[in-house]
């Protein structure tokens, strides 16, 4: 059942149309991730839902109620900011209890809720500390705690991990996923990192230039991207998209196809002179569990190949590439998917 419904949502800053008519529905308990390159409007869309920006057109309904013109304070949403945005003059406990104190909740209830959030987030020993006395990761947990204590209708996360270092980012990502499973709360999460999108989301919304490119589960987006943009945005290393002429004519069966997309794992290295494509090795990245081989073809196409076996290849070696013809994505001149072989 639809919990949050966006209908024709538009946002214009002066002359610039930042959000161009978004229709989206989010079900109760679902974890939705807005993902896209910087400047795609994903944060603006989140702020429109939060009520921190006003809509230029369209409407937003939450739980059957129109909240389009409602101020943030009355929307019953909680937000975790990229900069944490903790109140610097309040202790951790005060930060987490601020909303409940504003709502004049019973002090005993407040204490119970704060203690429970602190327990979930391992913040127990820090409740009396000020934010400046804590590390970035701890501050981020306080910001999440502040949202948990609220028990809001929806949790909004605005790039919550981008200020953390790589190790902490991975760890916190797992914690957020666990938290979502435990609390079952409806969540909207904004990130530019497609790995976060893939690992956290029930539903991924890929945005570009203020418009939705595709909505779907992570694996749907991976296996059946609607266009070249989504195909290349989801997955690391990104999908190889080459001109159809790179493949031998026999394998090209699709009418109107201009480009063909091949995931790096759907390519196999073979001896020179074999396979559908001849290529020269440019670079080999040995990551341990997997090896990435960067190649270029005589026609100039750049191709990356992923294999689980280690490689003895060096730059300059000539190889053949065997293409898994069952896993091709065909795009027209404009980048729209016209056919996919599975």
């Amino acid at each position: 059942m639809t919990f949050l419904q966006l209908h024709g949502v538009e946002k214009q800053f002066g002359e610039v149309r930042t959000i161009k008519g978004i229709d989206l529905s989010i079900a109760r308990g679902q974890f939705t991730v807005f993902v896209g390159p910087s400047g795609c409007g994903k944060s603006t869309l989140l702020r429109l839902i939060a009520g921190l920006e006003t809509l230029s057109a369209g409407s937003i309904a939450l739980d059957g109620r129109d909240i389009t013109r409602l101020p943030s304070a009355q929307r019953d949403l909680a937000m975790v900011f990229q900069s944490y945005a903790l109140y610097p003059h309040m202790t951790v406990a005060e930060n987490m209890s601020f909303s409940l104190r504003l709502a004049k909740a019973d002090p005993a209830v407040i204490k119970k809720k704060v203690d429970r959030a602190a327990e979930i987030l391992n913040l127990g020993p820090y409740l009396q500390r000020l934010p400046r006395e804590m590390s970035g990761g701890q501050r981020q947990r306080v910001a999440i705690g502040r949202a948990i204590v609220r028990e809001p209708k929806i949790f909004l996360f605005d790039e919550p991990l981008s200020n953390l270092d790589a190790a902490l980012r991975g760890q916190t990502r797992v914690e957020i996923a666990k938290l979502h499973r435990e609390l079952g709360a409806t969540t909207i999460y904004v990130t530019h990192d497609q790995v976060e999108a893939m690992t956290l989301a029930d539903q991924v919304v890929v945005l570009r230039d203020g418009a939705i490119e595709q909505v779907g589960s992570p694996l749907t987006l991976y296996d059946s991207p609607a266009n070249r943009f989504v195909a290349q945005f989801i997955g690391t290393p990104q999908m190889n998209v080459v001109e159809r002429a790179e493949l031998p004519p026999a394998s090209v069966a699709v009418e109107g196809a201009a480009f063909v997309g091949i995931r790096p794992e759907d390519l196999r290295l073979t001896a020179a002179g074999q396979g559908q494509i001849a290529a020269q090795v440019e670079l080999v990245e040995a990551l341990g569990a997997e090896t990435l081989v960067y190649l270029h073809t005589p026609r100039g196409a750049q191709i990356v190949l992923r294999q689980n076996a280690r490689s003895t290849l060096v730059a300059g070696d000539t190889v053949g590439i065997d293409v898994e013809l069952g896993h091709l994505h065909w795009f027209d001149q404009g980048g729209r998917l016209i056919a996919a072989a599975h």
Partner: protein
């Protein structure tokens, strides 16, 4: 000379220290001279070269209190400066808030325009203000001084509060809004505690400016609502200049604000740097 060797560094430090003392003495000397003169007799006061060793007398202070009601003037100064500062802050804070957190296309222009009013000499507005005050029967009232002090300090207050509010990350206010804070709650629980230093220093500075204001109090008030500035001026009268009595009156006029400034100098300096150094 080599100022980088240890010996040279000591010399450089000595020169800097001496220069600092020299400037400080230069600035402080008129005040010192005034205080010293206030304890002299009139004859000692006009002696050239000035006398530095004499038997101090309190006669001048007695005279000042006898001739004019010091306490009335002090009360006028106190009420006009305090009330104008408080009212000014109440008006400036919302203005600074909206400009700091909801800037529009013309915010910068409005700020510059407000500041530009401080560039006009006060005397340029004397006639209209005087006529207005006269036709409203407000001449020689504290009310008119409060209004004029408040209006003339308002641009400065808005500017200072604006720059202090600007230091608060807007996300913190957004977080408060998400937490259910109304505008009033946001102001009380977030902005006020975070900008307290800035608000205090703004208030202190405007208090001092209003206390020291002479032009408007001389022109708009007389015996009833005159401030200490008017009291001092009354000693340069047709009877001629009475240096020691004038000094005694001046000491009495500046003493409260100097003591006050001494205890709040840290806040004042913070305010004068306009929140730039943090």
């Amino acid at each position: 000379m080599d100022f980088t060797s240890p010996g040279g560094q000591r010399i450089a430090l000595a020169i800097r220290t001496a220069a600092a003392w020299l400037v400080a003495l230069l600035l402080f000397f008129p005040i010192l001279f005034m205080v010293v003169t206030s304890f002299k007799t009139e004859l000692q006061a006009i002696a050239v070269p000035s006398i530095w060793i004499f038997t101090p007398t309190l006669d001048n202070y007695a005279h000042v209190q006898e001739r004019s009601d010091y306490l009335l003037y002090a009360e006028n100064s106190f009420i006009t400066s305090v009330v104008s500062t408080i009212v000014g802050l109440l008006i400036a804070a919302p203005a600074a808030y909206s400009m700091a957190f909801f800037p529009g296309k013309r915010t910068k222009g409005i700020l510059m325009w407000m500041l530009s009013t401080k560039m006009m000499p006060a005397v340029g507005a004397l006639v209209p203000v005087y006529v207005l005050a006269q036709s409203a029967h407000l001449l020689d009232t504290r009310f008119v001084l409060i209004v004029v002090f408040m209006l003339s300090n308002l641009p400065l207050m808005v500017w200072m509060l604006y720059s202090h509010f600007k230091d608060i990350p807007p996300e913190i206010l957004e977080a408060a809004r998400m937490d259910g804070a109304t505008l009033a709650a946001e102001f009380r629980h977030v902005i006020l505690p975070l900008a307290m230093g800035g608000i205090a220093s703004t208030g202190l500075l405007c208090l001092v400016l209003a206390w020291n204001e002479a032009f408007w109090s001389l022109n708009l008030t007389a015996a009833n609502a005159g401030t200490l500035a008017a009291l001092i001026a009354s000693y340069s009268s047709p009877e001629g200049l009475f240096w020691s009595k004038l000094s005694a009156a001046s000491v009495l006029a500046v003493a409260p604000i100097v003591v006050f400034g001494w205890f709040s100098q840290k806040q004042l300096v913070q305010g004068l740097t306009f929140g730039a150094v943090k």
